[in-house]
């Protein structure tokens, strides 16, 4: 399996605003890569440049070893799903799905056959004679997905396709996107601001900030080994505890811990601790924290505590282990990780 899409040194500025700064990314055939970041981080700009809907100030895009930087959008053969309202309102569902084939001058029977096939894939066979406004938001996005896949695209581009939907529909549809993508082995670039969404369905996730790619890695690696402070705090919740680094060790909550990343200099650093790595011991005789709140989340509960310097920490514990914790209780907060992540920022 070779490289499908290769993006090299892409930059784009609008006036003096830099939307995209030396952005490079390679996607393998059949891989689903997400671009994740806050709004304005350049992820949508990157996607639109790949689609050919916007031009890069500099940089190059290669698809299957062919340079496509200057190929106009309508000749790139990339299917794209937009945030919402992208279905043509005056065409039926079937005609929408067949639109790309019509543009490719396929005969009518073939268009209808293919459209029917795809509508079956997304489970909307009975709706094919309806118009977009008669469908729910989730159904419309399914149609948009079918329409994008109908042209058998080299690359599938998803521009926040779930962000306008309800939570339940969103979760179902994202699983479905993943299922179809794997089934059809379609190389996919997925843009989202929702980290849960990105982590759930991607092979790799690229975290972006201020037009730059901060880190690109598998969801597990991103979560466990964030390369920058931005990634660490953007992916999942993270407690930040100021401390000092000395001889490869930091003291956090009264105990010494060795650090995961040794490349930091001695001096003031911040220790980054995941909530699930903080355990609260109720019956300990040593107390270093007081319980502020406890929220029941189901299998686990989130407990906030105040520590000696007045700052608040979050802990995530199995609900069964934290049933006895009540606001005002004195507890001992313990870090369960052997090694901790630090940053000198």
């Amino acid at each position: 399996m070779g490289n499908s899409l290769k993006i090299e040194g892409l930059s784009r500025n609008f006036g003096s605003v830099i939307a995209l700064d030396d952005f490079s990314l390679t996607i393998k055939k059949g891989e689903l890569v997400s671009l994740l970041g806050p709004s304005g981080c350049g992820k949508t700009t990157a996607l639109r440049i790949v689609a050919g809907l916007e031009r890069a100030s500099s940089g190059e895009i290669t698809l299957n070893d062919k340079k496509i930087t200057d190929v106009p959008a309508h000749k790139r053969n990339m299917g794209m799903v937009f945030q919402s309202y992208s279905l043509f309102p005056h065409l039926t569902i079937e005609e929408n799905v067949a639109f790309g084939l019509q543009m490719r001058r396929e005969p009518k029977e073939k268009r209808i056959g293919k459209a029917g096939e795809l509508l079956e894939l997304v489970g909307l066979t009975t709706q094919h004679k309806r118009f977009p406004h008669q469908l729910s938001g989730g159904q419309q996005q399914r149609v948009a997905l079918a329409r994008a896949l109908a042209i058998q695209p080299e690359v599938l581009l998803l521009d926040e396709p779930l962000s306008a939907l309800d939570a339940q529909v969103r979760q179902n549809l994202r699983e479905e996107i993943r299922r179809l993508q794997v089934e059809l082995n379609t190389t996919t670039l997925f843009v989202t601001h929702d980290q849960e969404e990105a982590m759930a369905i991607s092979d790799r996730v690229g975290v972006m900030s201020h037009g730059k790619l901060e880190q690109i890695d598998t969801p597990d690696e991103l979560y466990n080994r964030p390369a920058t402070l931005f990634v660490a705090s953007f992916i999942g919740a993270m407690n930040r505890i100021p401390t000092q680094l000395k001889d490869g060790e930091v003291e956090v909550l009264g105990e010494k811990h060795s650090v995961k990343n040794h490349n930091e200099k001695d001096g003031n650093v911040t220790a980054l601790i995941r909530p699930e790595s903080i355990e609260l011991l109720h019956d300990s005789t040593y107390h270093n924290a007081v319980v502020v709140t406890r929220s029941f989340l189901g299998a686990s509960s989130r407990i906030t505590v105040r520590i000696g310097d007045g700052s608040i920490l979050q802990s995530l514990m199995p609900s069964s282990d934290s049933m006895e914790l009540h606001p005002g209780d004195l507890v001992q907060a313990v870090i369960t990780d052997k090694k901790v992540l630090i940053t000198n920022a």
């Binding site: 809907l53 299917g79 794209m80 937009f82 309202y85 992208s86 309102p89 639109f99 543009m103 042209i151």
Partner: protein, 302 residues
């Protein structure tokens, strides 16, 4: 102003709704003043036109007034007025659409505000003031005429004159194009960028986008706007009166002179049948629009 969307409603009103047994309790009383006002100041006069069209001078029933419409000079006047309405709509709607597109493309909020206010004023110009402005520019010794002459182009020796059918079209476009911009811009604004993006993404050229997506979606609004322009030129009175010197027979002018009593008394009720003829043609002009709208209403979100 989304006049076109209202026209879309005109097309959609279907069978009268079923009324409950008790009219008294179901009547929308808060609307009574509105209904009364419209009845007294709109339907009453229009109804009077209708009834008097079928009366002779003694008040007896007759078809004479109606029959007269099918003979010259009135037949000619109707043909001229319809032609004027149609060509004026044509010559104003196309530049109007192009300008609306240009404004939309340039984008700027301030430009749009400026154009909206300029259009608002120009759409309401007409009559003698407008005629004099054009005389000052394109009259035989007008500023523009002299300017062209100094460039070696003598418009009037080429047969151009403001006081002609074509001259009328040019003068009308001064208020017709702004009307087009006002009524058509909302439709253009409603075209979503996603549709253009999706279409080019699916392999359509810019031309293909307009053919398969842009034009079909805009068609109902375009026809509605076109119809408005037709109605506006068809029934324009002040400007026509100021620009013509009896050389072009137009229905509104004939009605005007009949109402002024400039005609022999035996034709007194002819003015009413002419007015009725105008009403009928205006309503007939709605038909192509209603047909198109019927189709479009399947996909329009309202």
């Amino acid at each position: 102003m989304t006049t076109t969307t209202v026209l879309q409603d005109v097309a959609k009103v279907g069978s009268p709704r079923k009324r409950g047994a008790n009219l008294w309790s179901t009547f929308p009383w808060p609307l009574l003043p509105f209904f009364l006002f419209l009845a007294l100041f709109f339907f009453l006069p229009i109804g009077a036109v209708f009834i008097n069209s079928f009366k002779n001078n003694d008040g007896a029933f007759t078809f004479e007034n109606i029959q007269a419409l099918f003979h010259d000079p009135y037949r000619m006047a109707f043909l001229n007025s319809i032609k004027l309405g149609f060509y004026s709509a044509l010559t104003a709607s196309i530049p109007g659409v192009l300008l609306a597109l240009a404004i939309e493309k340039k984008g700027g909020k301030n430009l749009k505000k400026f154009i909206a206010s300029v259009s608002g004023v120009l759409a309401n110009t007409g009559g003698v003031p407008l005629a004099f402005m054009f005389l000052a520019a394109f009259g035989p010794s007008g500023l523009a005429t002299n300017l062209f002459k100094s460039l070696g182009l003598d418009l009037y020796s080429l047969g151009f004159t403001l006081f002609s059918f074509n001259g009328l079209l040019i003068v009308y476009s001064y208020f017709q194009i702004p009307i087009m911009i006002i009524v058509f811009t909302p439709a253009l604004t409603a075209l979503r960028r996603e549709w253009r993006d999706a279409s080019s993404n699916l392999g359509s050229t810019p031309l293909g986008y307009w053919r398969h997506v842009g034009l079909p979606i805009l068609a109902p609004s375009f026809i509605a706007s076109f119809l408005l322009l037709f109605a506006s030129a068809f029934s324009a009175f002040g400007t026509a009166r100021a620009m013509t010197v009896g050389n072009i027979a137009l229905v509104p002018l004939q009605i005007g002179s009949l109402l002024d009593g400039n005609v022999t008394i035996d034709k007194a009720n002819l003015g009413y049948s002419l007015a009725l003829g105008m009403i009928v043609i205006s309503l007939l002009a709605m038909i192509p629009y209603i047909l198109l709208q019927k189709r479009a209403s399947r996909w329009q979100v309202r």
